[in-house]
């Protein structure tokens, strides 16, 4: 009798999960804010030895994706992804370079060799609640003398959300 009870509970659990999956997939397909089933095509990094377009303060400032996009389009900024390497490989803003915050000390010699101190850096982490973008931006500015450092306030999530409103991008011909 108890077996029957347990079986009933398990079947009901399965029904709830199945309903959740079906509604979730249907809602996701219908919603303009829904998530994609796969990553966007990755693109190689943009110009890496670029100069800032205008004077920016030494104190890292928070910017929006819209502002970062303008800097990217002007080829004047390097996006720095400070999330863990695995998260970077699962998906990142096209053109971004990976510099995991927890491995910063180890990776900085190579980074400094590649990007000069005048390069405009836009640092981002996962979303608006993570602190590593702001912290890393400060470290880059204060400890490594990068003069033009900003951080993307909404992080990777802000970029993802912006993709839903943006028109389809042309294929990269590089």
């Amino acid at each position: 009798m108890i077996d029957k009870e347990i079986r009933q509970i398990v079947w009901r659990c399965a029904a709830i999960v199945a309903a959740g999956i079906c509604i979730g997939i249907a809602f996701n397909s219908a919603s303009p804010l829904g998530v994609r089933w796969s990553n966007r095509a990755e693109r190689p990094p943009a110009n890496t030895k670029t100069k800032r377009p205008a004077a920016t303060p030494a104190e890292p400032q928070a910017i929006t994706w819209e502002e970062a996009q303008q800097l990217m389009e002007a080829a004047a900024a390097v996006l720095v992804d400070v999330r863990p390497r695995t998260a970077f490989h699962l998906g990142h803003i096209p053109g971004a370079v990976s510099l995991p915050a927890k491995d910063l000390m180890e990776l900085m010699p190579d980074f400094v060799a590649k990007y000069d101190r005048d390069t405009l850096l836009v640092v981002y982490c996962g979303d608006q609640n993570c602190a590593s973008s702001e912290q890393t931006a400060k470290v880059l500015a204060e400890d490594y003398d990068y003069r033009n450092v900003m951080y993307l306030k909404g992080g990777f999530a802000e970029w993802q959300a912006a993709q839903h409103d943006a028109p389809a991008e042309p294929e990269d011909t590089q």
Partner: protein, 158 residues
């Protein structure tokens, strides 16, 4: 309809409301929830993580509604137990590995609370979420075990 109010009812309602709040927080911004999920760096295929990002909020919503309605309660509690164990593993491994990520569990902005202060960051951290999930698991076990005993006892009496 007479509602018998006791501690167990209050805990069941609390779990129901928390599930609904968590679900609405995630459904309001699916991409942010996906980003939060990916940031946990769980050893799961990418497509499974994305499927979880689509389905988990709805499973939470259904569990919340079922707990409030008090039908199929044992099933909703059993499913909640499975989810909380998974959440404990996810937040625990994130905390252990020192990942600087936000939990992605509840949207505090819905309560008018900003995300800038250190206290809010701590509340949204994986470490806090780990202990919160343990407390919620204890609440689920507190409701589930007596419910199962009651049910098996009622059957035995038949």
């Amino acid at each position: 309809m007479k509602i018998k109010f006791n501690i167990k009812t209050a805990v069941r309602w609390l779990l129901g409301v928390l599930f609904i709040w968590a679900a609405i927080s995630k459904l309001a911004n699916p991409t942010q929830f996906l980003a939060s999920t990916l940031a946990y760096e769980m050893p799961l295929p990418d497509v499974l993580t994305r499927l979880a990002a689509m389905a988990v909020p709805w499973v939470e919503l259904l569990c919340g509604l079922i707990l409030l309605a008090n039908v199929w309660t044992e099933s909703a509690l059993a499913l909640s137990l499975v989810m909380f164990v998974a959440f404990i593993y996810a937040t625990g491994q994130a905390w252990f590995r020192g990942l600087d990520i936000s939990c992605g569990c509840f949207d505090l902005h819905m309560l008018g609370i900003g995300s800038g202060s250190p206290i809010v960051r701590f509340i949204e951290s994986a470490r806090f979420a780990f202990f919160r999930n343990i407390a919620l698991t204890a609440a689920v076990v507190y409701l589930l075990i007596p419910a199962l005993r009651r049910k098996s006892g009622a059957r035995s009496a038949d």
